[in-house]
Symmetry: C2
Subunit: 193 residues, 2 copies
């Protein structure tokens, strides 16, 4: 899967959980070690510093997002592809809700210039993927062409992010899948030629 050891992956997962539960201020070496059940210095056998842990979190996010995006085949009509993409992300969030605390909260790391860069790159990558998809759809006549692909992408990603953020803020207390599908129906109507 990735090139981290079992213990490293455990540290990464518990760290994500901590950020989701207690915010970035809850991500301390003490909390991580407590969650795993080892002592603080043991953490440093697996990561050189806390910064390295955060970098590993970002790297893991990037990888899992790329993996998710790679599933989309080029055959389906554009709207189906967008739907599948959003639904894929949704399933990932439902399986692992703590992801939502990080993947759409770039500001968390924005103060640290070392961390801000890969986050920004990941964001750009995902947006470009969707924009290219929409542009193809506009050429083939699947998607309305009177609105720029960038604007459509902004709407699709923006709506999804906002919905997922609400889900997190509401402590995952509504049926995300149902809400996402209703959102996708609305987007479909809006994008029809």
């Amino acid at each position: 899967m990735n090139n981290y050891t079992e213990r490293q992956n455990q540290i990464i997962q518990e760290s994500i959980q901590l950020i989701a539960d207690k915010g970035i201020q809850g991500l301390t070496i003490k909390n991580i070690s407590k969650a795993i059940g080892i002592t603080e210095p043991a953490i440093y056998r697996h990561f050189e510093s806390k910064n390295d842990i955060i970098l590993a979190i970002i790297s893991t996010m990037k990888e899992s997002t790329a993996e998710e995006l790679s599933h989309i085949d080029d055959e389906n009509p554009t709207l189906e592809k967008i739907k599948k993409m959003i639904q894929g992300h949704t399933n990932r969030f439902i399986k692992n809700p703590s992801l939502t605390a990080i993947i759409f909260s770039e500001e968390i790391f924005n103060n640290n210039s070392i961390l801000a860069k890969p986050i920004r790159m990941m964001m750009k990558m995902n947006q470009n993927k969707l924009i290219t998809m929409i542009e193809k759809g506009q050429v083939s006549g699947d998607v309305r062409s009177d609105i720029q692909a960038e604007q459509i992408s902004l709407m699709v990603i923006g709506s999804f992010r906002f919905l997922v953020s609400k889900w997190h803020i509401m402590n995952f207390d509504f049926d995300l899948k149902k809400e996402v599908n209703e959102m996708l129906d609305a987007i479909e109507k809006v994008l029809e030629v």
Copy 2:
């Protein structure tokens, strides 16, 4: 304007600036006092605790947002009202960019139950305002009625939030007003009956 003293407002403003620049981890009593030019204990002459400062930040946000929303008169057609609302917020952000670090980052305070509540209430209030607006527009025939008002609201707020978040992450390094207007044009096309 509000019921805070001059010094209290200064503390609130510098705190917002600090969160924008350095994230929530940068919001320390030391940083606040340094930014103002007084010593740390002097801060406690004006707020009982750091938590009270954060509550004051949220309260100020709430007030300034409500003030912004109150400007919207009931006369204009719905799309014009939505445009004016978004543009009003945009002008506020351009005048005070550090606002963007807080107003759309509810997760920052989500770990603290005392803070999460007012944040959630503010969010709900703003959404309901827009939903009501859209529903009226659907009745009067201004806005397409084949999509639920909640979904339209999700799209409008989601797109705007995402654009503003990008502006913050990119260190305010693009013309927000221009991008917002392009976004509003797209939304207009999408909402037309």
